[in-house]
């Protein structure tokens, strides 16, 4: 049975590495090159980009949950639930105070509030770009250049988001 921390790390890998970078980002860049006239393919066009953006809507919610659940999942306070600390036999109130101390120190040394707020900001920026892109895709006018510009801006924003997600630690540790 994986721990909360292991599950969070696995989810981040799936969302950030497997989906955001390898699938979504790659597909968006292929679409951009298609709009630039460098690639032709029946699977690259306005309609396929629209479908791709629908995927973003559901995945961006997952990313939001991922960011907000980091503190709970990766806090070193969980170490008190595992061996060897579990068997030490601390008095409950002492253990709670130790847990709080370890957690607060970890938060401070990691600058966790900044880490989380930066990631949330990047997500918000990406959502704004995504909405603009979806709006322009819905337009009936020929907005090729406009789509291209917004798509480029969106790619920049999801890259920043991906970088922000990568800055979260990759294991439970006492800092």
């Amino acid at each position: 049975m994986p721990t909360k921390g292991e599950l969070w790390l696995r989810n981040r890998g799936e969302v950030n590495h497997d989906w955001l970078k390898n699938q979504f980002g790659t597909a968006l860049r292929a679409h951009r090159n298609s709009f630039r006239g460098l690639v032709t393919s029946p699977s690259l066009g306005r309609e396929s980009l629209r479908r791709l953006m629908a995927e973003w809507d559901s995945r961006s919610s997952e990313i939001e949950i991922l960011i907000s659940s980091f503190e709970d999942a990766l806090s070193p306070s969980v170490l008190f639930l595992e061996e060897p600390l579990r068997s030490v036999g601390f008095r409950p109130e002492f253990e709670r105070s130790l847990q709080t101390l370890v957690h607060d120190l970890w938060k401070r040394r990691l600058s966790l509030p900044e880490l989380v707020s930066t990631a949330m900001e990047k997500l918000a920026e990406a959502r704004i770009c995504a909405t603009r892109l979806q709006d322009s895709l819905e337009s009936r006018k020929d907005l090729s250049q406009q789509v291209l510009d917004i798509l480029t801006a969106f790619l920049g924003s999801i890259r920043s988001l991906s970088e922000a997600l990568s800055t979260f630690p990759r294991k439970v540790e006492v800092l």
Partner: protein, 598 residues
Amino acid sequence: MSSIDPPLILVIDDLFGRVCKDGGNPERENLCGQFLLEDVSGDTAASTSRQKVLAPVARAVFWRGQTPARSGVGDSIENDLEGVITRTRKGWASSSIERWALVLVDLCFYTGLVTRESNARVKGMPEGRPDDDNPQRYFGLRVLQALQQELPDLPVAVLSSKSRDEVSREFSLLGAVGFVPRDIEDAPDVLQDFLWWHGLIEDGRGELVGRSKPLLRVLRAARRVAGTQRNVLIRGERGSGKELVARYINRTFSGKGLRPFVVVNSAILTPDLFASELFGIERGVATGVDARAGLLRAAHGGDLFLDEIRDMVPQAQAGILRVLEDRRVAPVGGSVAYPVEARFLSATNEDIEQLASSGAFRSDLLDRLREGGSIYLPRLRDRLEDIPLLTEHFVREAEAANPRAMRSEIDPDTIALLQSHDWPGNIRELKSVLFEAVADYPDVEHLVPVHIRLRHKGSSSDFQASQDLPAEDPSLDALLQKLMNFRIDQLSPESLAGRYSQIRAGFGGFMVRSLRAALEATRRSTVHAPEGEISIHAAARFLTGNESLTAHQAADLVKRIHAFSEGCDVDIAGDPILKEAVETALHLRPRNRKVSRD
């Protein structure tokens, strides 16, 4: 590779290399769309794709690096290091097929079972095991290590969406030339830059023909210096293509626009002429003299190719050094100096450092001429694998230049013959031999060995010496002359001390080669062996000039030569003709091992 084909790369990646059960790979299509790659993997994912990249940066073969390559729910995916090496070697070890210009390796390869859930996330991809995503245990690093050990001169780069920082030391230690992030905005430009700088790419124009590693390395070195304005020294034997390399550098500078390319034969820069030739001359300096800009000003904004710099007289050396320092030239008889911004591409086939240290060439000039480094051209005998392509190229060129010539098929035996020669005159000699063959036999459909006239055998120094001799077979004459002049008895005992084993090996080699030549010369066709049978009896008579030599005496002679050849550089056991001769001699009469006590 034709002149328009982009370079060929190998991409080793679990996601982009896999084939889904339905035969496709949408992620690969998107990657090709992002990096502008033409998928030439030859699998169903490539053949079912309807995507077209209009101006591909590269042609890519994708390889999963895992088994099975085609996967769906229920399959267990395992990494396959041996398969990776085998596939990579296939496109690297032989120049009979196009070589990888660059290999890109992913870092994280997911293994384990393909479950319904993992398949729903990404078709054909497994769940993954905890260690797959551990930077210390990335399979991609193991691939890099194995490639470094097995194919050390292969250019390999990492292609990953993982963090570069986590593995930067590891991939450097494992010989990777760099890291291409997968999630970059200007992916095609970055890949193109990597190919330009690190890739082993053929000359797209087909002027420097071949795909042997030594030649591809020269082209890479030339591309690297092409983007700078620094002077370069090009070194190589006569006929190895130094001027072609200089032209390649000239035309690949920044890859855009034409730049002047001026060729100067250093031998024409005599003390009387060098100044007017190089710097130009004003009108009226002497009666009837017209103004001339000179070669240096003609090269302004481009490249000046100084061929065979060792032939340059000291006055010319001083003049060129001054131009390199001042970047200005004043024509003879003129008072105005003109700016000259030209790169000097110099060539030599000599040990120019030796000439500089002996004072025969200015060392300060040498330093300036090689400030951007030296490029060493391989000898043709060191890139014999290029002979099929070169032969095809020169034969077609000769046919195009000869209205009478038919298009001829090049016989494999002709290639074998050409590859057995050591080409002391390098590419120029090969070209000349093939042009001669086409000129002599324009009315045949097959170019076969009898059409080929090889002019000489032996080392390049024999070739040089033989060029001065008027005899019909110059290399043999030169060799005989050298042998007759070789007075070992006149050498001082000090100079021979401790070197008898080398001298003996030298003579042993000479005698074995003489025997081999005699065996070839006396070979006779028979009903059973139309290609000819060797005869040690005939060969021994031929060698000694003694027609009354018996078969047993011939066998003794062969055995003595065999015994004397110990330590020489001829591999008798590896040469079918010599091996047969020795075995025949031993069979005819066992060697008398008695030691005479006389």
